[in-house]
Symmetry: C2
Subunit: 204 residues, 2 copies
């Protein structure tokens, strides 16, 4: 009970957060290569070079590890969207955001998969919001903000929520379906993207 709580004066070889990040990077790569279902904790531990039970010093369980990978993927999308959001305004910004969102999904299907298509289990603690959900809120927030800016103050927040969620869902739908059903006889992709964006923004 001396409670020095030191532990930060280490030799900098990097064990604590650095190792955690190392685990996440290997996990992300493995998941991208083989799919989330096919990656076991043993494979991840093996890639990192530690024993499988050692993972449980960094994550309470497999689910939490996957969710952490998920959050990392979200960060990348949010970065891209934030940049795009600054280049234009109004309807053009909405369209650019939508196009950036779709392109991110098509070019980084694995990140997108982990971020939006993998279902996170109900957290045991009802008070604790799962981190990927929070990150999802931020991505959605960017769409909602751009929409609110464009529509002006005449709409109610509830109305804006519904419109933004409808828009977001439609964008997600195209990416998710084309990822999950790549063998479907889709229309030519770029034309389909433009048709989709055009349809989603008419009437706004």
């Amino acid at each position: 009970m001396t409670s020095t709580k030191a532990s930060s004066r280490r030799k900098a070889k990097g064990y604590g957060p650095e190792r955690r990040a190392e685990i996440l990077n290997h996990a992300m790569r493995l998941i991208s290569e083989h799919g989330v279902q096919m990656v076991s904790t043993r494979q991840i531990a093996n890639a990192v070079g530690i024993s499988q039970p050692s993972l449980y010093a960094y994550f309470p369980n497999r689910q939490a590890l996957i969710e952490a990978v998920c959050v990392q993927a979200f960060e990348r999308l949010i970065l891209v969207m934030t940049e795009v959001a600054q280049t234009s305004t109004g309807l053009n910004r909405l369209k650019s955001l939508g196009r950036a969102y779709l392109m991110f999904g098509f070019e980084q299907p694995d990140a997108y998969r982990v971020g939006f298509m993998i279902e996170t289990a109900e957290p045991l603690d009802i008070n604790q919001i799962a981190p990927p959900l929070l990150a999802g809120l931020r991505a959605y927030g960017l769409h909602r903000q751009a929409l609110a800016d464009h529509l002006g103050p005449s709409r109610t927040p509830d109305e804006i929520d519904r419109l933004a969620q409808s828009l977001w869902a439609s964008l997600h739908g195209l990416v998710a379906l084309m990822i999950a059903r790549g063998r479907f006889p889709w229309a030519e992709r770029d034309a389909l993207i433009e048709t989709h964006l055009e349809r989603l923004l008419t009437g706004l």
Copy 2:
């Protein structure tokens, strides 16, 4: 090599296809109750009253069993959509179809998940399309048909394809996202559905 191939004159206690159906029904109930990930082959076999390996006489593996359950669910979707398609025409028919599609997704999330959200592994036989994909194609076909009817013969088939796929993707997006991110602070569901349908059909 006498090849009588009889085996159909049994005492009618019902082993062959009836038992298969019995397995599917129990599996569907268990999946609905506990979710697809939480149901094991042993639990299904136990519910049916046979041993776990016996399942493998009816299905080559767990995946095929799950897919069969999902196809059963899709039959219902296609049935509902076919009925709905006959009750109205034009834009109203499109709206009714969309609503039926969304409601199916929300009420049978496991079937929807298996049918549209789980990525089916590349079939070993290139000629063989996974059954759930076929069922999904039929559901899409109903949308496309209704859209083509409404738009009339002035549009090119490619244009109709793009519009139908955009529409389908948007419907899918709302269901998939709400299933995968159920804890997101969604707008009130029925209002969101109506907003979504309204937005998707404006301008058609």
